[in-house]
């Protein structure tokens, strides 16, 4: 592994040089990549949920972003400048998210912004990006209003996204559901943008694929729900045959555990959780995760079977002693995309980087991907699969993967309204 040793030596030399002589030293060590002669680090502000019952999520994003930063810096940084990354807790609150973005740009001097878990925060921060005049790459918040309305219809050009939108939760799920022996669906989902928009999309598309389905009930749980018992008993009172859910993080863990107590898995034919294959949920439920539950995410560590994905998994496991969750991959990819775009543009200027990002092709851990020019949305495919317990892994994994092409389930410009 000669290149790796070289990289390590370079990092060692570089940190020594920095320690001895400070930043003023001529940077001959960045010669591996095009030197933009910025003479300063490229600052990237990342915000994610780092506290409360969903804090495990942000931790995975932080790990992915940190790994990318370390790898890129070991290879000489972006255009010869090292990345300096800073993390702030988004708290899933709109006012906090906006404040973080302003702080990053106005006070800390960020060149780029990445992260954001909440759809509502993504929309709110997206609104102020023209005034901040920086590129924002969202790595988790998934509402379609971000790429379809904000970017495509209203031309907020600073906004990009490298994770699959709710098309994963609402349309790919419907492609799975149409072949399941279920006619009566109900949902238990979060009572905010993401939960409502996913359920709306699922209903609209499933009805299109399979006109005789019925949607018999819904129970929306507020953020911070610690007990799902009343939601479960309400929904089960309507005798559904299938449950569709977009609960995530610790709330998905609690919901599944309690659904198990209520014997929901014996009484229904299918249970689908859009974010059920996120690593924190797989690890959190462990042996308690019932076999056969349909789950997905915005990346699943076991897919695709490619050299890049294997390399990423190995590097991540070596660095953090856990398998990556999807925010790890999307944050990792956001930084790789920025590196590629800045070096292509030979500049960190917002306008030039936007142009470089539009249509950019990436070979990311999740597979080949292109950033669509019209709506600044990264297009790649993530499978759905069924939970199983494989003794080779310390947590449940997916089997029976259903792989659809992005072309089959991504909504396309000009984005006809979702009826229903």
């Amino acid at each position: 592994m000669a290149p790796r040793r070289g990289a390590t030596r370079r990092r060692f030399l570089k940190s020594t040089a920095l320690a001895v002589a400070g930043l003023g030293l001529p940077r001959a060590l960045g010669a591996a990549t095009a030197d933009l002669k910025l003479k300063k680090p490229i600052k990237i502000g990342c915000q994610t949920i780092l506290s409360g019952p969903l804090g495990g999520y942000g931790e995975f994003m932080r790990k992915g972003a940190t790994l990318a930063t370390e790898e890129i810096n070991a290879q000489g940084g972006i255009g010869g400048s090292p990345i300096e990354i800073s993390f702030r807790d988004e708290e899933l609150k709109v006012d906090v998210g906006v404040k973080n973005a302003r702080y990053f740009v106005d006070d800390w001097g960020a060149d780029f912004l990445i992260g954001i878990d909440s759809s509502a925060v993504a929309l709110a921060v997206g609104e102020i990006m023209p005034s901040l005049n920086r590129v924002l790459i969202v790595t988790h918040g998934a509402t379609e209003k971000y790429n379809e309305d904000l970017v495509f219809k209203r031309h907020v050009r600073q906004c990009f996204r490298v994770c699959v939108p709710v098309y994963q939760d609402g349309i790919a799920s419907a492609l799975v559901a149409k072949d399941l022996p279920v006619k009566r669906w109900a949902t238990i989902s979060p009572d905010y943008e993401y939960g409502h928009t996913s359920w709306k999309m699922f209903r609209a598309y499933l009805k299109r694929f399979k006109p005789d389905v019925e949607f018999v009930g819904e129970s929306f749980a507020k953020f911070g729900t610690v007990d799902f018992s009343s939601h479960i008993s309400k929904v089960m009172g309507l005798s559904p045959e299938g449950i569709f859910s977009t609960e995530w993080g610790g709330e998905a863990v609690t919901m599944v555990k309690q659904a198990k107590l209520f014997k929901v898995f014996e009484q229904t034919k299918a249970f689908m959780i859009g974010m059920g294959a996120a690593m924190d949920v797989l690890q959190g439920l462990g042996a308690d995760y019932p076999d056969g539950v349909w789950a997905s995410g915005r990346y699943y560590f076991g897919y695709p079977d490619s050299a890049e994905n294997k390399r990423f998994n190995d590097a991540f496991h070596k660095r953090w002693n856990t398998y990556p969750s999807y925010p790890s991959e999307t944050a990792y990819t956001a930084l790789q995309a920025l590196k590629k775009a800045v070096e292509k543009a030979r500049s960190v200027e917002t306008e030039k980087v936007i142009e470089a990002l539009e249509g950019l092709e990436l070979d990311r851990p999740a597979g080949k991907c292109v950033i669509r020019k019209e709506d600044h949305q990264a297009v790649y495919a993530v499978p759905w699969g069924q939970i199983r317990h494989d003794p080779k892994f310390p947590m449940p994994t997916l089997t029976n993967l259903k792989v659809f092409t992005a072309d089959e389930y991504y909504r396309k410009p000009p984005f006809a309204p979702v009826e229903g």
């Binding site: 506290s51 019952p53 969903l54 495990g56 507020k222 610690v226 008993s233 309400k234 610790g250 555990k257």
Partner: protein, 284 residues
């Protein structure tokens, strides 16, 4: 219909255990313990550790709350007793500081990942009620909640320790003048309150995801319960918890859009009509 109420009542039991300790501590010591939710969180984490070590849910249920009681003792003995004579704002600040410290301590010690051991086999069954399925665990929780209520009633009304607690709660100066050693009593009351919160947390361990910050959600509801029932009244805390549980369960069924607001609306209503709470004692 009735079944939904039963489920709501079982959810209310965790709240009752937290609110009972909160109310008891306020009633006797006049301290509003913001960190009470954090003690609930510690109960879950310590029980989880005990479960990992022993492999037994029952050992975890016993050990977790006891360790929390010890933490409660350290909190009262080391910190709180120094601010009893300080203005209430200082007491609130101190207990709030504990919320932040305990959250971060848990994050440092156990990591931010959710933990959730399996539900014990003996309690993971279910019973059929009409056409609906109620988990055995929910029945168990209802039983524990009622038992704790009875236990507290016996302790407060049938023992001399209870007599001293009630006397001190009613008139602190008089009790002290009659020879009650308030300092020691306060420690015991706080330890008991902490144990109750720890028990709630330990009971939640196998059925709710454990995570740092899990106490912050329950403490707000517990405050609502205590205000609703009357500060310092255990009967109030019990009835308040049940009321919140029922409002939540039936709110979801009949007016899901307002469900979140119902508990707060009930609290506002009580504050307007009976500012001292349903079972509180009118002061002055």
């Amino acid at each position: 219909m009735l079944f939904q109420g039963l489920v709501g009542l079982s959810e209310a039991m965790y709240l009752w255990l937290v609110a009972a300790g909160l109310s008891l501590i306020f009633g006797v010591m006049r301290v509003l313990n913001f960190a009470h939710g954090s003690l609930y969180m510690l109960g879950a984490y310590f029980a989880w550790v005990a479960f990992r070590v022993s492999g037994s849910f029952w050992v975890a249920l016993l050990a977790g709350p006891l360790v929390v009681a010890a933490v409660g003792w350290a909190m009262e003995f080391g910190f709180l007793r120094r601010v009893y004579s300080a203005p209430e704002a200082f007491q609130l600040l101190l207990t709030f500081a504990f919320v932040l410290m305990l959250d971060d301590a848990v994050k440092l010690l156990f990591g931010p990942v959710y933990q959730s051991p399996p539900t014990p086999a003996a309690l993971s069954g279910a019973v059929l009620i009409g056409h609906s399925i109620l988990p055995t665990y929910h029945l168990f929780i209802l039983g524990v909640g009622v038992l704790v209520g009875l236990g507290l009633w016996v302790l407060l009304w049938k023992t001399s320790f209870g007599l001293v607690i009630r006397a001190t709660a009613a008139d602190r100066e008089m009790a002290r003048a009659l020879g009650v050693r308030a300092a020691r009593l306060f420690t015991w009351v706080f330890v008991l309150g902490a144990w109750l919160a720890g028990l709630g947390g330990a009971l939640s361990m196998p059925v709710r995801a454990i995570s740092p910050g899990m106490g912050e959600f329950i403490i707000i509801e517990a405050f609502v319960v205590v205000v609703l029932g009357g500060l310092g009244s255990l009967r109030g805390a019990f009835v308040g918890s049940l009321l919140i549980g029922l409002l939540h369960a039936y709110g979801l069924l009949f007016m899901p859009v307002f469900e979140l607001a119902l508990g707060y609306m009930a609290m506002a209503l009580v504050l307007i009509v009976r500012p001292w709470g349903l079972f509180g004692i009118r002061e002055g």
